[in-house]
């Protein structure tokens, strides 16, 4: 009998969920950031915060926090990898589709509700620019 794939998400989503990159564990003051952006609402089941450290108009370092499902955690993790090292203008161009492609496509019903991190990133960049 062909058992098929044993996990609801792709291997790369699983990898980012099981071993998320660049997350901020515990108190946010542990990370020296220039701006933080937020998206979502726990009532809807997903909320993300992106913390950025900017040097020479580039995202020098990045951290995130997420309350949400596996694909929310994996997609925020993926976004942090995509955004690191990019100029702010380049980072602003990262779309939900880019995150989805990076993760090898999420289940359709997950795409709309859990791929939100880029909005938190855009919010952080906006706040950074307002304050600098």
């Amino acid at each position: 009998m062909n058992e098929g794939q044993d996990w609801v998400y792709s291997d790369i989503v699983k990898e980012h969920f099981m071993h998320p990159r660049n997350y901020l564990k515990g108190n946010e003051n542990q990370f020296e950031y220039d701006a933080v952006g937020m998206v979502g609402n726990p009532i809807c089941g997903d909320q993300m915060r992106m913390y950025i450290k900017v040097v020479d108009d580039k995202i020098f370092d990045i951290r995130w926090k997420t309350y949400g499902c596996a694909s929310a955690i994996a997609s925020t993790s993926a976004l942090s990898e995509l955004a690191k090292g990019k100029t702010l203008d380049e980072a602003l161009k990262i779309s939900a589709k880019d995150i989805d492609n990076y993760l090898g496509t999420l289940p359709k019903h997950k795409f709309h509700c859990s791929v939100l991190g880029h909005e938190a990133l855009a919010d952080a960049i906006k706040k950074y620019r307002e304050n600098s």
């Binding site: 969920f17 901020l24 726990p42 809807c44 499902c69 596996a70 997950k110």
Partner: protein
């Protein structure tokens, strides 16, 4: 693997599997046929009917076999299409979604209240509903009362202002059931929650109450449900019923399983910061095998999948897991807090669960919750 999702589906008991294998080869004939193999198959079906009837205090003729609880529920609700239908906020989708679609304002009215809820295990006070139903005056004219059976007998002899249905899917085998003591007119049952196969269920329909078949097209089930008899499945259902009777499963759930459930609940509260229980541990207030808990700042699907990766199988009331937008309507009705509903996990025990299972869960769960709480946007201290 630590399997704690018995309220979703139980594994098939070995005795049930043996009975089904035997039925596959011995009772394969169409049970509606007049020939000997057909008649022998029908005997097997009738035996299950008698077993279930005996266990719930019904007459065999009051039992109809269906494809499962969703069909049983649909059948009752649709019988009352165009009529007033009152359902509890805890009902299964196969009740409230249908009721929303077909309910009207005619009398007699239908009340549908599950005895025990599938997500939290909450036990409802059905006596109150039955009493309420009895006070509804009998309508003078009702299309549900009109008509005669093919045998010239009146369809509805028990004319009332309201009737009561209860979904007993989760209750069967866990707490004792007597449809007369409960005062029910209709009751829903399923095989795959008691060690039987998926795809078989039953509907208790009290003699003389309104009934409209959902599936028309044959004389099966005394013209109340068309379709070739699922002999093998029904045999499996019968074997599962006999097993719960023989092993005194209700007593075991009330003692051994209740202790395990309470132990897990107590340990979660004690060892995991931000945890709360959505199931009562007070005897009589909930099923002994279900524990629903919420973990502040940790989302249910993530908890479920981290547990899965550790070989612990549970379910969640979070919207994310089901692909829905809204979290569990049951937890919303109970807690009124979407975050609590999104952050919930249901642990449901089976008759063979052991203390090792509780230990296994508590070996990994605190670490998983701690990880999710630390990466969460939600602060641990509630504002």
């Amino acid at each position: 693997m630590i399997y704690l999702d018995y309220a979703a589906t139980t594994p098939i008991e070995p005795e049930v599997l043996d009975a089904m294998h035997e039925a596959e080869s011995r009772f394969f004939a169409n049970a509606s046929a007049l020939h000997t193999p057909g008649h022998l198959a029908l005997n097997q079906i009738e035996e299950t009917r008698e077993t279930l009837a005996r266990m719930i205090g019904a007459k065999p003729a009051e039992i109809i076999f269906t494809s499962g609880s969703s069909e049983s529920n649909n059948t009752v609700i649709r019988t009352f299409a165009g009529h007033e239908i009152e359902v509890s906020p805890l009902e299964h989708h196969s009740i409230f979604e249908v009721a929303e679609k077909v309910a009207g304002n005619k009398r007699p009215k239908l009340f549908s209240y599950m005895l025990a809820n599938n997500e939290t295990g909450d036990i409802l006070d059905l006596a109150e509903i039955v009493e309420k139903a009895r006070r509804v005056p009998v309508p003078e004219k009702s299309e549900l009362f009109e008509g005669k059976t093919d045998f010239g007998k009146e369809l509805v002899t028990d004319k009332r202002g309201a009737y009561v249905h209860s979904d007993l899917t989760q209750a069967l085998g866990k707490i004792s059931i007597d449809v007369n003591k409960l005062g029910l007119d209709y009751a829903t049952f399923s095989a795959h929650k008691i060690g039987g196969p998926v795809g078989v269920g039953a509907l208790f329909v009290r003699e003389g109450v309104p009934f409209l078949p959902l599936i028309i097209g044959g004389n099966q089930e005394n013209k109340r449900r068309g379709g070739t008899y699922n002999t093998v499945g029904i045999v499996g259902f019968g074997a599962a019923l006999k097993k719960i009777e023989k092993t005194k499963s209700v007593e075991k759930y009330d003692t051994k399983i209740r202790r395990l459930r309470d132990l897990l609940g107590e340990r979660i509260l004690k060892e995991i910061p931000g945890s709360s229980l959505n199931s009562s541990l007070v005897k009589g207030e909930s099923l002994p095998n279900i524990l629903n808990a919420s973990f502040r700042a940790a989302e249910g699907e993530s908890i479920q999948l981290y547990l899965d990766a550790e070989g612990v199988i549970v379910s969640t009331g979070s919207a994310c897991a089901s692909g829905d937008i809204k979290p569990s309507h049951v937890l919303m009705a109970k807690t009124g807090d979407a975050e609590v509903a999104h952050s919930s996990i249901r642990f449901s025990f089976g008759i063979n669960s052991s203390e090792q299972d509780v230990k296994g869960v508590m070996k990994v769960l605190p670490r998983i919750i701690d990880h999710l709480q630390k990466i969460s946007t939600i602060e641990m201290e509630k504002k």
